[in-house]
Amino acid sequence: MARLATLFVLSIIFAATAALPGRAAVFKPETFTLSNGMQVVVVSNHRVPVVTHMIWYKTGAMDEPPGKSGLAHYFEHLMFKGTKTLKPGEFSAIVARNGGRENAFTSQDYTGYYQSVAVDRLELMMKIEADRMTNLVLTDEIIEPERQVVIEERRSRTDNNPSAMLREQVSTALFQNHPYRIPIIGWQHEIEGLTRDDLIAFYRAWYAPNNAILVISGDVTMETVRPLAEKYYGVIPARTLPDRVDWIEPPLKADRHVELKHPRVRQPNWSRRFIAPGNLYGATEHAESLQVLSEILSGGATSRLYRTLVVENKTAIETGAWYSGDGRGPGTFGFYVSPPAEGDIQAAAAAVDAEIAKLVENGVTAEEVSRAVSQLQASAIYALDSYRTPARVLGGALAIGRTIEDVESWPERIGAVTVDSVNRAIATVFKDKRSVTALLLPEPTS
């Protein structure tokens, strides 16, 4: 990630659209595909004369060769170094001199780069972004200081932070086979061992127009974007892409418990994770029902978990649930809880456990489903507010292999979720299923 930023791309649970009568549509994008296979997507928002220009590569940490963890992310940092025509640092200098803001991010599934600029600078951004798709120059003088930057980033994000350390360990227990088990930022010893050849091989393998998506949102139309996209991106030849491994996660056959005691922990935390279907993995028909379930359990102060454990029973001071299913691989459904200051972590954990058992036994109610559906559908309208959000949402979906129609019909699909469909999803994910339980505890004081 980014040079400044976000290693973990948030799955905005939002989705898109409006509860419009008739056929819902969220962003109403226009799209076409260049002759080299690169898809171009435009979403217009004319409030202010600015645009966000994003390029998404359909490659992320999960595509790294064995033993090369951290390669996708380290490489992303290096995309800001020089090309055949730009000196190291010049890319960012050009963006800044033109009043632009920029960043990049790496996830397990994709890697993205973006600039937000005044609309009259869009062409320049397209020119330099297209340039670094093929013309990057990497030397040892360039990659070595950046390797240290990445290791410092790892220390900041993970090694200096007990909950992040635990999360990293939990992923290795939850995913037995899928590369999601390996941290995006990489294991330190493997980051240290990555070579210039590794980096260049990764670049040559995956950074190609037929593995990229261009998404532009803001004060533009396809009419103006199309000729520019053809001029700058359309001339880059397509490349044969490596085969992707179709990773399948075997069933968890044992419950796993991961515990970290750390002197910096003041508040114990318990969490439990189940492997779940994703939007593209496993029993995908459950994905929307699981989003609704997560909203029912955790969508605010009157949601089931918070109301029951925090407001009524006082067994917890904080609790919630989450569903993430927007990668290429398996999804996760998780629960977490922290006890009150003088409370008992085991009692809090037992209370969440009882809620999971109750879900499996009794399911959800029609009123809960209806409230959750309307909240999720409203989030789709709010997603239109910022000129940046449409590019993020559409890019994130397309980069894992979903379609514009998937995004645009999301409110309708959410609207089609029923008590029965949620209850079927509950049975699929939780009933008689193994899980991974994580405990974060203070180091005993005596």
């Binding site: 930023a5 409030r47 190291p88 800044a96 009043g99």
Partner: protein, 450 residues
């Protein structure tokens, strides 16, 4: 709203700087309600959303009474936990049912509120906002729950190196002045805040004379007026003034070390800055951009990160508050490189103090600061916040148009003068949290309470 204690996701760092250009697409109207309440409005038809942002001046953490640190913040967390006939669950349930987002929070100098709603629920939404501001219930259950959440949050933060570094730094430079206290209070002070304290806070600080309002949405001035009266009309006309002593920022070159067994040290550094109304504000703003505010373009970034690989994050920023303005910065670097990182940062601080920027850096800073300004107008809420800030700092209704003039007027001599005036490399106060090698503290770090 309940405090979120558990946050499982790492957010990106955003450079605290900003940018600017004339955003001619945005037209600011001044609206005065029949009851005399003023708001600045930007009409926006692009989305079916209305955003209201407002701020009560002089109702922030700096004005919390002695021994009651955290009062403003705790009140901000409790007033949406039940109001009028609606208890906590009923109030929150109504907001959730309508997908209305109402938020309050306390800063050092202001108490802030915001409302975001779909237009079709606007009437119900503003009624919820009115209730929270004028008839909060303070029922025992939510008060106790929120208090516990704040306390647990404070305890968790008490071992967070970033929080410790920043608190010790503020304590060191502001000493016993309220600006040296955390807005969030301490475990002890939060435990001692009563419902009577919060009721007194609401009745004495939420008043029309200290209120500034920004609205963005598809609403006409003659519709907005009655809405403003509906929300804010019942508030008292004048607030009870709370005097806050002038600060004297004590930055005398001290280096403090707080030992913590982490692989990476967190460092905060800085000294007194300039306020928003200072004649040198724009010059200082440009100077900071070149020094460490400009993200990938800044000198600190280039020297510490790009050239030497010493850190992932290094930055400086201006915090131009009314009284306690500072220029501050931070770096996180491995323990055996703290001395090197700090030496590079001090060299840059000194180089800027002695020579200022060069002409090219000044020109580049201006094009960025002007060109990127419209990027801030990204949503209804962000535009409404800008309208509030323009009123809070008396920038004028045409500020969005005129900001470019202020930036362009800054000369090289201005920036050099500002650098000489603000930066005093030998007086920078430095706080290191970690196990730094080669750093000798000048004296014992001031104590902070969690």
């Amino acid at each position: 709203m309940p405090k979120r204690i558990v946050c499982g996701v790492v957010l990106g760092l955003f450079w605290i700087v900003s940018a600017v250009t004339p955003a001619s697409a945005v037209e600011v109207e001044r609206v005065v309600s029949p009851g005399g309440i003023e708001a600045w409005l930007v009409r926006d038809h692009s989305v079916p959303i209305t955003a209201i942002e407002f701020s009560f001046r002089g109702a922030g953490g700096a004005q919390d009474p002695a021994g009651k640190a955290g009062l403003a913040e705790m009140t901000s967390s409790v007033i949406d936990e039940g109001a009028g006939d609606l208890d906590s669950q009923a109030f929150q349930g109504k907001a959730e049912e309508l997908s209305v987002h109402i938020k309050f929070d306390a800063g050092m100098e202001t108490f802030r509120g915001s409302l975001k709603t779909l237009n079709r629920h606007r009437d119900d939404a503003v009624e919820l906002l009115r209730l929270a501001l004028t008839e909060p219930r303070f029922d025992p259950e939510p008060v106790d729950r929120i208090r516990q959440q704040i306390i647990v949050g404070l305890q968790q933060q008490s071992t967070n190196p970033d929080v410790i570094a920043s608190r010790v730094w503020r304590r060191a430079v502001f000493a016993d002045h309220p600006y040296g206290r955390p807005v969030s209070g301490t475990v002890d002070s939060i435990a001692g805040i009563t419902v009577a304290d919060m009721k007194d806070f609401v009745s004495s600080r939420f008043a029309r004379d200290e209120l500034v309002i920004g609205v963005v949405g598809d609403i006409a001035a003659d519709e907005l007026g009655p809405m403003l009266d509906g929300i804010f009309g019942a508030l008292p006309k004048t607030s009870r003034a709370i005097a806050v002593a002038e600060t004297a920022i004590g930055s005398s070159g001290e280096t403090f070390v707080i030992e913590m067994d982490n692989p990476q040290s967190v460092v905060v550094f800085g000294q007194a800055g300039v306020g928003r109304d200072d004649p040198d504000y724009y010059a200082a703003y440009v100077m900071n951009y070149v020094l460490g505010g400009g993200g990938f373009a800044s000198r600190l970034y280039r020297e510490v990160r790009e050239k030497r690989g010493l850190a992932y994050s290094v930055y400086s920023y201006l915090n131009p508050t009314r009284r306690g303005a500072v220029i501050s910065g931070g770096v996180a670097t491995r323990n055996d490189q703290v001395a090197t990182s700090l030496s590079v940062i001090r060299d840059e601080w000194r180089r800027m103090y002695e020579d200022g920027p060069n002409a090219e850096e000044l020109a580049n800073a201006k094009t960025f600061l002007n060109g990127s300004y419209p990027l801030r107008l990204s949503s209804t809420g962000s535009i409404a916040r800008m309208l509030v800030s323009m009123q809070y700092y008396d920038l004028g209704q045409d500020y969005i148009e005129r900001r470019q003039e202020f930036i362009n007027a800054v000369t090289l001599a201005d920036v050099k003068r500002a650098a000489k005036r603000i930066l005093a490399p030998e007086k920078m106060t430095v706080v290191v949290v970690g196990k730094p090698q080669g750093i000798t503290p000048t004296s014992k770090a001031p104590e902070i309470k969690s």
